[in-house]
Amino acid sequence: KESQAVQTSIADVETIEWKLVTSWPKNFPGLGMAPERFAKLVDEMSAGRLKINVYGAGELMPAFEVFDAVSQGTVQMGHSAAYYWKGKTPAAQFFTSIPFGLNAQEMNGWLHYGGGLELWEEVYEPFGIKPLAGGNTGVQMGGWFNKEINSMEDLKGLKMRLPGLGGEVLKRVGGVPVTLPGRELYTALQTGAIDATEWVGPFNDLAFGLHKAAKFYYYPGWHEPGSTLEFLINKEAFATLPADLQSIVTVAARAINQDMLDEYTSKHIIALESLINEHGVIIKPYPDEVMSELGRVSKVVIKEQSVKDATMEKVYKAYMEYEAGVRKYHKISEDAYSRIRE
């Protein structure tokens, strides 16, 4: 009798239609594919009961309006990155990436088994938003430079587009973080209005064509060592879903979270090869001296900013505690293995 009831309900239940807005242009490689795949997955898993229409940046609204739109319930879902909302709640930065912070694997551990996600929910609570991890780019690249970086001295006066905490760190060591609209970035790098910019990693950077505007490609991306993306869900809308659809949304998001990292891992390899072999890009590591000094300054900056906001301080403490633990263990596991592979 029960199975009969389920069958009729599938036939009778009307489809729920949701809107999902993203901060990426429609079908943007990597980042923009995640919400598309998520929508498809939910559609299949729910046998068409939950239809999610995905809108790219600028289609319904500009890229950085996603959070407000989900919060106000204008749309039911969003796909974006938490550090874009630091102007609304500074603690959000910890849920994407912070300089010299956790990498992708560690972020996933912290969020799902280290209490991170609960903190994230707490931070978004006042906005009526439920967050879920929505992908990861892996360790990003340091950025595109037209000047060589051989010592801390070379960072003095360096004009670089480097948003967020990374920019703050650059400023402390005498650099010039420049704020530029994404569309003027390429021309600005080409004409020399700026000396350097960060973007994502080989897969996205190749598509953007930054190799045509800069000579040196520095690594690693100390400022974003493993950026987590996010699904934003309007809490009221989520509450109206039947329990099975709620599960489907949560599970699909978890699958996409891993899927994006898998895709980046593979596509970065091919893109990096193309950049080196076809486009003659010079790959350079940041000098050790520069990395250790930036690491030191980063810790200071993050601590300073965290104590200014009670919520941020709470997240900061939890994050740092997890970071200390996982660093200790990874030193003898992941990192040790990386070293012996050389």
């Binding site: 950085f64 407000d68 919060s71 106000q72 550090y83 874009y84 909302w85 630091k86 102007g87 609304k88 709640t89 006042p126 906005f127 003095k156 006066g157 004009k159 948003p163 967020g164 905490l165 920019g167 703050e168 400023k171 010039v176 973080p177 420049v178 704020t179 209005a193």
Partner: protein, 174 residues
Amino acid sequence: MNRIEKLTELIGKGASWFTLLIVLLTLTVVVLRYAFNIGATAVQESALYLHGAIFTLAAGYTLKHDGHVRVDIFYRHFSNRGRHLVDLLGTLFLLFPVCIFIAYSCFDYVLASWRYSESSVEAGGLPFVYLQKSLLLLLVVSLLLQGSVELVRHTLALLTKEVIEDKDAVGDKL
């Protein structure tokens, strides 16, 4: 009515100073970055705020001076009564509904920004995003103020059959 018109004038003329300010502020950003290696995100954002303030605050002033472009193929050939009628109907059925709708739809949005005193996402940016967002409501205020003057003016003109002087054909248009 006179008071409202005076207010519109005052706001328009006040906002016009922002045009000079954004020239100076943007130039400052260029000079600081190029000559002194200083990034000035706060100055950049000030200029952007003021830029938004120009056309939101002065929308009513521009309406008062008939600066909003019209398709005047026929309008210019209408009698004065005809023009007053078009402007009266336009004010009633286009301007007012648009303003009311923008106000209705933006109110919560602006309020939310105030509630969490939204600040810039950029390092070294301004902590006044809620003021910038409030410009959306000020646009409505600016248009409604002058719109109500227009409503009365055109109604009176139609009722009294008063002939009001021709408007200058060459406005400040691109």
